[in-house]
Amino acid sequence: MAKITLDNLAHSYLARPVTPEDWALKEMNHVWDDGEAYALLGASGCGKSTLLNIISGLLRPSQGRILFNDVDVTDQATAGRNIAQVFQFPVVYDTMTVRDNLAFPLRNRGASAAYVAQRVEAIARMIGMESELGHKARGLTADAKQKISLGRGMVREDVNALLFDEPLTVIDPHMKWELRTQLKALHHQFGHTMIYVTHDQTEALTFADKVVVMHDGRVVQMGTPQELFERPEHTFVGYFIGSPGMNLLDAEVTGAQAVVQGTEIALAGDYGRPAGRVQIGVRPEFVRLVAGDEGLLVKVVRIEDVGRHKIVRCDFRGVEINAIVDEGAEISPDMTRVSFDPAAVNVYADDWRVTPRSLIGVAA
C-alpha cells in the first residue's frame, strides 16, 4: 500500500506546448494518503484519464514527478509499480476458466496453491461467481466478464494501489450496486489505496473517501462527498455534482445580504463586498416552494416525478431555478415563490466560492 505524491505534475500531448489550452493536465501538487479511496470525477476530456495513466505508468508526464511512498517512480514502467488495474471493458483470457483467470495474477507471482485456492474462493464469493468457477470465460456475458476483471484486479493483497477506470460502465444498474458495495467493503477490510475514475457522480460519491473533481485539466476541488455537496468551491462542482446541479443567480452582495433583481436574500455570513461576477448558489435540496410574499417570484414550468422525490423546474425571469421536494409533497397553485435556507446559500465571485468573514447565528 502506498502514499501517492504528485509533485509539480503537468502533461501535454504536444511536443511544444505554448498556451494553457495545450496542457491536458495543468500543474498540480497533491499528496494522496495511504489507504484512502479516491475518485477522480469529471466530464470527458477533463484530464482524469490522463492523470490515471500517469499514475499507472502508461504515460510519462511532460513535467514533474510522481512518487509512491516518497520513492520517485516517474520513469518506472507499469510492471515495476506493483499496481492492479481494472479498465472500462473486460480484459479476460477467453480460453481459461473463470478460476484460472482469477488465479492468474497470483500464480504469476508464484503464490502457493493453497493460498491461490483460498483467495480465488473469497473473490468468487465477492463477485457472485462461485458456481461458475469451472466455466470457460468464452461465451459469458459482458458484465460477467467485467466481474472477472474486477475480481482479478482485487485478488492480490500486496499491491501498492488499485486503479479503476470506469469499471462499472458495462454493468447493469442492479449489479452496479452489488459490486460497488463489495468494493467498498473490501476497502474497509484491506485498506488498499484505491483510485477510481468515473464521470458518474453517484459512483464517485458513494465509493470514495475523497472525491477529486477535475475540470479543464485542473483539480477544482478535492473533498469529502459532504464538502462537495454543501460547500462547492467552484461553480463547476456545484453544477457537476447533484442532479439537478446547484442553482446559480447573479446577485449583488453586501455583508450578509444578497440582492437578486431587487429581491433581498439573507445570507448566513458576512461576505464583505466581493468583486467580479458575483453569484449566489443554492442546491435544489435547499430550495422551498412557498405561498405568500417572501422570496423570489417564479413560474413553475414543469414537475418531474423521479420516484423518491419530485423535481420542480421553475423560471425566474429567464433563469432556471430547480427545487427538490418529497415524493408525497403537494404543490398548490398559490406556491409562486421560492425561498432559500440561508445556511445553504454560497457566494461566488468569478466562479470561485467566497469564504465569509464571519458566520451569523448558524453552526458552521
Binding site: D143, T206, V306
Partner: protein, 362 residues
C-alpha cells in the same frame, strides 16, 4: 397512428428471446422498455422495426398487417447506443441524407433540416463534421437524422448510455419536449428506472423475454402488479422479506414478530413476500404506527445529500436511503422504521396481494 403486436414471439437456436407478447402503442406517446441487459428490449425493438421476423404472431401498423415487411419499406427510424453518423459528411448533410434518399426537393430538405437542427440545438454546427463534435452533439446529430424523416415509429435503443452523466441529464430533459412536438410513436429502451421516470409517458417492464406490466410510467412504478415488475422498476433494488401471518400477529423473516397493522391486518393466514423501496426506510420513528426492525449496519455510502445504508436483517440484505449525511457506526446494530403504508405484499408466486396504501392514495 398505432402499432400492435399480437402474440409475437422470437426464438433463436431454440432459445426463447421473446415469449408471446401483446402490446399496442399509440401515436404521440413515449413508450419506455425498461429492463436489465438480455431482458429482450433490443429483440422487441428489432421485431417492431422489421429487422427481424417473428416466429409467430402478427405486427400491425395502423391496423394493416406488416409482419415480414422489410425495414426499408416501413416508416421507421432507429437510434442506437453508439453514435452512428456519416463521418465524411457535414452535420447538415447527415441530417439531410434520409430525405435525399426519399427523393424530396432541395427546398423541402433545407426547411426540414433547419427546423430539426434548431430543435436539437445543432444550428451552429451544421457545417462541421460529426467527429469534430462532442459526444453529446454527435448523438444529437443521430437523433436529428431519426427525427427529420418524420417516421411514424422512432426506436431509441439506450441512446444516452454512452454519454457522460451530465450530458445524459441535459438531453434526457429535452427528449420529452422533442417527442411532444413530433407526434410519432416513440419507443425508448433503458436499463435505468430513473430514466424511465424522467421520460414519463408509458413504461413496459421487461424480464426474461416477457413484458411484465405496461401502463403509465408513474402507475407502473407505484402500483406494480407483481414482485418482478417491482424489482425491475427499483434502483437501488427493492428490499424483500418473508412475512408469515398468523392470526393478529406477523412474523418478519427469521426476525421479530409484531402485531399486524395497516393493510396487513386484512391478510389471510399464510406466508407472503413483503417489498419496500429503500427511500421509504427511516432511521426515526415518524408516523405513529411504524414497523420496527433491528438490523446490522454493514456499509454506508454518502452521496452528499443522502446516505445509503446497507443492512443485514437476519440474513436478508436490505438497502436504505435516508436524507442527510449520517455518521453511523459500522458493523453495529441499527434500528430502522418502516411505515406500513409503504409496504407491498406479494404472494409466494410473486403476484401482488396487497398494494402499498400510499400508492393508491396518490
Amino acid at each position: 397512428m398505432s402499432l400492435t403486436l399480437e402474440g409475437v414471439t422470437k426464438v433463436v437456436n431454440g432459445r426463447v428471446h421473446i415469449h408471446p407478447t401483446d402490446l399496442t402503442l399509440e401515436g404521440g406517446t413515449m413508450n419506455v422498455l425498461l429492463g436489465p441487459t438480455l431482458a429482450g428490449k433490443t429483440s422487441l425493438m428489432r421485431l417492431m422495426a422489421g429487422l427481424d421476423v417473428p416466429q409467430t404472431g402478427r405486427i400491425l401498423w395502423q391496423g394493416q398487417d406488416v409482419t415480414g415487411l422489410r425495414v426499408q419499406d416501413r416508416k421507421v427510424a432507429m437510434v442506437y447506443q453508439q453514435f452512428i453518423n456519416y463521418p465524411s459528411m457535414s452535420v447538415y448533410d447527415n441530417i439531410a441524407s434520409p430525405l435525399r434518399l426519399m427523393g424530396k426537393t432541395a427546398l423541402d430538405i433545407d426547411a426540414a433540416v433547419r427546423k430539426t437542427a434548431d430543435l436539437m440545438q445543432l444550428t451552429p454546427m451544421l457545417d462541421r463534421r460529426p467527429l469534430e463534435l462532442s459526444g453529446g452533439q454527435q448523438q444529437r446529430c443521430a437523433l436529428a437524422r431519426a427525427l427529420v424523416k418524420e417516421a411514424g415509429l422512432v426506436l431509441l435503443d439506450e441512446p444516452l448510455a454512452n454519454l457522460d452523466y451530465k450530458l445524459r441529464e441535459e438531453l434526457r430533459a429535452e427528449i420529452p419536449k422533442i417527442f411532444e412536438a413530433a407526434g410519432s410513436i416513440f419507443v425508448y429502451a433503458t436499463t435505468e428506472p430513473e430514466e424511465a421516470l424522467l421520460l414519463g409517458g408509458n413504461t413496459a417492464t421487461l424480464w426474461e423475454g416477457r413484458i411484465t406490466q405496461f401502463g403509465p410510467t408513474p402507475q407502473v412504478y407505484r402500483q406494480p402488479k407483481d414482485a418482478t415488475t417491482a424489482r425491475v422498476f427499483s434502483n437501488p433494488p427493492m428490499n424483500f422479506l418473508t412475512l408469515t401471518k398468523s392470526g393478529a400477529r406477523i412474523l418478519y423473516g427469521k426476525g421479530q414478530s409484531a402485531p399486524a397493522i395497516g393493510s396487513l391486518m386484512s391478510l389471510g393466514d399464510g406466508t407472503y413476500v413483503a417489498g419496500f423501496r429503500p427511500n421509504h426506510l427511516d432511521l426515526e420513528q415518524r408516523a405513529g404506527q411504524m414497523l420496527v426492525f433491528d438490523t446490522r449496519l454493514n456499509v454506508t455510502e454518502i452521496t452528499g445529500s443522502e446516505t445509503f445504508v446497507h443492512l443485514d436483517h437476519y440474513g436478508e440484505r436490505w438497502v436504505g436511503l435516508v436524507h442527510g449525511v449520517r455518521d453511523l457506526k459500522l458493523a453495529a446494530p441499527l434500528r430502522v422504521y418502516l411505515d406500513p403504508a409503504h409496504v407491498y405484499v406479494f404472494g409466494q408466486d410473486g403476484v401482488l396481494v396487497a398494494p402499498a396504501a400510499y400508492a393508491m392514495a396518490a
